[in-house]
Symmetry: D2
Subunit: 360 residues, 4 copies
């Protein structure tokens, strides 16, 4: 009810403030017997961690994951898995000014209004640092999904006005990790990096889009009526800091097609398996996966923290100005890639398990 | 877990198939003492009901709501409110063909794969007829919200390629109900109606966008981290049949702005109340309402049922063709307006109540 | 959150007031493909219905169940099953006095304090009439459990001071339905009936105990740590009107044994199956079923409504007296037997399904 | 769904195995602004910790609590509070034998059947060590309740056949902490201690009863229909290791009274407040608190671990014998007192908050 638990069976309960002792997560509902590959968890965390390149924040965190429970002799016990990550490079002194001043387009004002007090150090729990816990948990969801042949791959498809128009089928997604912006098109990647560097130099920030593809998803995942797979994916994505939009399959562009153009007609493949010849639906029909690729886009607004002086008010409601100190990402999408993958994995793992209950 | 319950405190549990005895809903968690205005519920249902104009399906349903429980002497008791609506104009014979054939871009195939059986009459529970129960329940949520000064207004902003470019502030939303397509711009409305009539005549269908504005929302609604207000709105909208996208505030377009352009700086109004001078955030920051208008767009794909012959497969996996019979909407957005309002109201009512628990 | 939903996957959402239009239930999470035997549902409802004998209330209700959704061609669809029962013999005029007077040991006072208003007609939703909806739903849970070889049998083991000392193994539970008090020992049954008749004649009421045995339960049901099978059974039983106690296995008497007496040592049966040679544990260890019989006792207080004048206060807080009108059970346990069975079935069905998720 | 989360708004998610790295808990839904008194938490943990006297297990654990999140400048933030406790005196070598042998009346067999594997070291997560996390969390619930004038006091009322017949009103509960068995009657306490010492010397174990009194509870806590206060208390208690029974108010003995004896008639006190002249109901009517004291009993079976050779089977299903090594309590009730208080506090804190939502 207080909104720090996500999922219905495979649930995560995250905790931690940006500059507190630790952040972490308790995963409940992970089935027993899953091999827990710690190196893989760390690898995904490293994709999200700060300081990984010159286009991300320079905060230095090793983001080393500790396993407090739920794993025995390398396997999940079926009991809660608690993972923690220490906050190491906390610099609360950077935040003394925002103790009494609300940063524009940040959560300072709304949190203080809601709770009557707030941990102002780095945004406290409103910081995107919380998403490290999601990545750690999502990686375990990915390990579970791999057992069932499901893979999830996200990449950056837009930074500011630089938009990759090609659909994922025309890209080599193996290229995603070859550059620091995580765009699978090398040429576009270079442009995006240049744009981010330029914008950073100006003290400004950029928005972007992360696209995600799920392959190998079995037919039948997703629960009518409210827990449709696209509905739960949408919630998962909009729960990520800075996200303002979600679209699946044909999305907003699909609105412009006629039904006769948009419908995905059924056919059978060489093995007699039922497929659709197009996939405007984005892999789900009636909210349930149909065995085709699931693909969706997630829109991130430009980072709210900029190195320019901005008008604002203080906690007394008086006008003032503020210019950011601290360490921040000029554009969040490169580090958002593993977060989008993690949240997608959490949704799919939950539905994979829940689908075991649909029939007698 | 089976996905027919929505909300965490103010919950709805809908039930019913398109051609079964009834559809309906149980509302749990409505506070005691709310005046239940049945005429208002019926009025909202009438906006959604079939047969309301020549651009909607011709199925004839009075959609009269029955109150089985939870209301006594005109007021909510604090106990579950059960509302039912009889299915009157069921024509199961129209659906004999789809008993053994999967309609393209419908839920026939995925439901049968998931459950091993399905009620093929009008799509059974996958039919958008289920949303009548949501509208009935959402209207009670709207009655609750009105007590706190919150109003919700949705309208059609796009049909096919006809897009209303003006933001809601430049529209007179009182015009929405003056035309059958529910577009507040009379000129655009006329064009949209003509396009729908033309497309219907060709046996084809159209997509569209419904926009929604929430005004008067108090500061503090929405729960971090996962139950952010935009996250719950996104889920609510993507749970509506045919929805493929959601964006709040600046949405996908906001990606193209710089942070210095996008940030909503704080100021105080004449009464000393803290406001933002722009509202790219769409009324929420850090997932919590900030007192500004909440606005968002919902993308609907073109209706899957078209009056043209389409390729498909039957339940044995053999290739065949199908041409729709039955009664269908050439474009769903006019009837989707009250559904979007209802789902938004359910999210907001839930969060309005949950917010009572944030402080000591 | 408002407490009208029970279960985590196989959930029921009951609704309805004693003298409103109807009572009913929505069952969500029933797997698809279950044959729904309406005659069996009605048979269980008939065991609970008022007016069935001279030792129960004389309110006349046919308690005919209506299926509004979720069943198609005799089978569950996997969608919500809504069952309703009309209130037929409502006599609100019997309750005019309690509109302004609180009945001792009833819920009138607490409900009015909690909600600010109440449906005083027959106790509104605090009436045990609500349990008819539980029985209807529980019967569907029993149909599911039968598919897996699980049977549930409850009986009356105590009325007032008349206590059946024999354990269930020494009773012929087939005798339970041969007498109106539902005690499987014919001699004790006759004494109980005489006691109830005598007490009724005096305008007084009695308490009692219902015992319940679950046979054929597979190993593995129950979730640590909080959702232990005994914990969920305890909650289920204490949620029934008038229940004041629950004990499983050796229960309160087991406290007096030494560990060396109480421990259930393991052995194997002729088929090599692991069993325990005694069953003080009552079929669960560590909260999880171990394959032995599950048995427990449920204590019901004497009916609060008595035909004697009692001191009380009115809604203004002034002292007054009250003597019951209306139609009431002098002892609730005979009619509580199917309610205990239903609630046990709901717990077990939920855990049977949830247990599918424990392993990879 | 996997049963490691308790509560609906004020929720706890416990984690940890007996001999793993740590045990702990995430509390979600604690309102912001509560002063968190760490010394009080530690004091309650010390009542539960092992090695506190010669009648408890000799395992040595400091049970020092660490706060990882949710508290800032001494106050709750409204964000999840994560508390951890290191396992210090783990001796996994004591458990090598039970790796392949099932201890009678323990959870070894059922857990292995359910999950396919288990952490055999000290029972893994089935160990009562998990309850330390509940005590830590429950203490925060008690801090919250204190703000509203609610106090919770538990004590030992029975050990083996030694039963304190006096009701709580005739006891001085301040004596509870004056002796190591936590019985408020000094004479009975001495007898209980002697019995436990004698039984321990014989290598055997004892059961017992913990009684609990809640004073100062406001009217209105508890949610109909399923989440009645007694129902949630019953579940809470039966979720504690070794508990076999629960009774509230008159409980099982109340069955023997006539309604005219059992009913709690209403009156007003000197201040005009509505009270009942007796309290057989145990402080709740219709599942909702009525402002009178809430009192209940919890039955604990004799400790399963005994220092005598017992028959059992090994993991291959072959007969064998087992004699416990390791460190164990000859009777759990002295250490169960703070656990019962903690679980009661968690239920009441949850309902205290939920009750804010009952009215407009």
């Amino acid at each position: 009810m207080a909104g720090n638990i996500f999922g219905k069976h495979f649930t995560i309960n995250t905790f931690g403030e940006s500059h507190g002792d630790s952040i972490g997560v308790v995963i409940d509902g992970c089935p027993a017997g899953l091999s827990i590959d710690l190196a893989y968890i760390q690898q995904q965390l490293d994709k999200r961690k700060p300081g990984q390149s010159n286009i991300t924040t320079q905060r230095k965190e090793s983001d080393t994951v500790n396993v407090l429970s739920g794993v025995f002799e390398g396997k999940s016990l079926g009991t809660p898995i608690c993972l923690t990550i220490k906050n190491e490079d906390a610099r609360p002194e950077d935040y003394s000014e925002i103790k009494s001043t609300y940063r524009p387009s940040h959560a300072d004002y709304t949190w203080e209004q809601k709770y009557g007090l707030r941990d102002y150090r780095g945004g406290g729990r409103s910081s995107a640092r919380e998403t490290a816990a999601r990545v750690a948990a999502g990686t375990i969801a990915q390990l579970l999904l791999k057992q069932y042949g499901v893979s999830i791959t996200a990449y950056v498809s837009q930074v500011g006005r630089l938009k990759l128009e090609k659909p994922y089928q025309q890209l080599d997604l193996n290229n995603t990790e070859t550059n620091i912006v995580r765009c699978p098109d090398p040429e576009m990647a270079a442009q995006m990096i240049a744009l981010i560097e330029d914008t950073k130099a100006k003290g400004d920030s950029l928005g972007g889009v992360v696209s995600c593809v799920v392959q190998g998803c079995p037919v039948g995942l997703g629960e009518p009526v409210f827990d449709k797979l696209p509905a739960d994916l949408a919630k998962a994505m909009l729960s990520i800091n800075a996200v303002k939009g979600f679209e699946i399959g044909s999305g907003f562009d699909g609105v412009e097609l006629y039904g006769s153009e948009h419908n995905d007609v059924f056919d059978t493949d060489a093995d007699g398996k039922i497929i659709t010849t197009t996939n405007h639906s984005g892999g789900t029909q009636g909210g349930i996966s149909n065995g085709m690729d699931i693909y969706f886009n997630v829109a991130f607004k430009p980072t709210a923290t900029i190195m320019k002086e901005q008008q604002t008010v203080n906690t007394d409601g008086a006008n003032t100005t503020l210019k950011a100190k601290g360490r921040h990402d000029p554009c969040v999408v490169p580090r958002a890639v593993p977060i989008v993958e993690a949240m997608a994995a959490l949704v799919l793992a939950d539905h994979l398990l829940r689908n075991r209950l649909s029939r007698l």
